[in-house]
Subunit: 293 residues, 2 copies
Amino acid sequence: MTGTERRGGDVTGYFTEQNSVETVNGRTGPNADPRLAHVMASLVRHLHNFVREVELTQDEWEIGIDFLTRTGQICTHERQEFILLSDTLGVSMLVDAINNRRTPPATENTVFGPFHVEGCPVRQMGDSICLDGKGETCLFAGRVTDLDGKPISGARIDVWSDNADGYYDVQQPGIQPQWNNRGVFVTGDDGQYSFVGIKPVSYPIPDDGPVGAMLAGLDRHPYRPAHMHYMVRAEGFQKLVTHTFVGGDKYLESDAVFGVKQTLVAPFTKLDGEKTEWRSDYDFVLMPARQKR
Amino acid sequence: MTGTERRGGDVTGYFTEQNSVETVNGRTGPNADPRLAHVMASLVRHLHNFVREVELTQDEWEIGIDFLTRTGQICTHERQEFILLSDTLGVSMLVDAINNRRTPPATENTVFGPFHVEGCPVRQMGDSICLDGKGETCLFAGRVTDLDGKPISGARIDVWSDNADGYYDVQQPGIQPQWNNRGVFVTGDDGQYSFVGIKPVSYPIPDDGPVGAMLAGLDRHPYRPAHMHYMVRAEGFQKLVTHTFVGGDKYLESDAVFGVKQTLVAPFTKLDGEKTEWRSDYDFVLMPARQKR
């Protein structure tokens, strides 16, 4: 059987409202990438069922085409509006959840977000990462351990947060110092980490583009609850990408990107008469690396 | 009940892999546009079910974000890659089918396509629309009638096709004359139309962008079977947007955008010893306009 015959045989007839899914997916050829064919067949089925279910009008289809086009065109090196769309529709968190199923006591993952930067200098334990002198100072401290509570030595902890005005350094080049509120710390044999940052503040995701307009149309606010980002990597363990959230933040239950998990809400304790104003303790528990197949 | 209370009450708890759809849709506020809220709730459900069904990996998600971004960024005034994506996934045809359900003897709709241009000069019945002198000449003729076969006077017939090289005039400004293979004809009391064009040729949709790469990955060809575009508008009748397809074309059963319907495949008859080389007869039957609600 040649490819042409196979392709001919797959065609179930001309496209109709009723056979749309089978007709489109039947067009996939015998030499398609098998995983791509599987993913696209599922996407086509769900997309057609969506169109059918809401009886999408021609005008709405045009609005959708225009929305997607503008979402692509507003993207720059500094702005990724499609990630923002994925985030605000809960798709990013769902992909993260499916790919990082964790059982206690392992620390849970959450969204990576668009503001991490590779290459931040390694600092000494206890150093301050706040370079602009703004905001309420906070000591962050804890341990990195395996599932049995054994300290992990040589774990590389990337941390990053917004500044007191709610912006990351990369959003304000020339205004904030480079590497403001960022640091990399490497654990010793005790698995302990500590650094001084600021008590993070809640902030809106960029809402002056298509995604902001969508949120407004859905009567949703664009705010994220205050959080500190962490990425923890250690030889022999699964990479952990997570945040700790500031307990009591008013947006905890309505994070615009659905990143909050109960286990990631951390205590922030006010310190009286100390050099730093707050303290937040949090331990990170890593899963062993997946077996290579 | 205030908006804030309502929003709080809608939250079913933090996002999990299991409750993702309810959590995202529960975030929609009380002042959302009702139709937008309905459409987005369905989209979110189908999108999440797709991600869940294929267990989309983090790498695949990144490929998807990059694909959508590039699809938006390649769009220009002359190129609409998101429409092409919608067309090649059968979404455009499905929207068209849902919004233009027709019963015999009414002529069926098909995709509009990106190459129509408003403002083409009105020509006299029998005129030639082929201005570059290329291709095999063909007489197109027939009648525009209502469902009872009564001729419609004053029907405005827009026609457009590619040239003998497979390109529309707007794809080759400076190479093809303006309005090449385009015309507007207005019927008289007999409802008849006739014009001379070329026997259209099959051509590939633009396949040097993200959509072309997707088709290649799915082992699908980018060709459309040869066709003549028509848009027929008349006072008191539904707008008809359709093509006639050249019977016998080798891509009839594998149109890259799924536009072919059996009733739109037209006869093209070779004429011997006549001034024009081919003849294609086709009657258009319009539905009465929808009742205004």
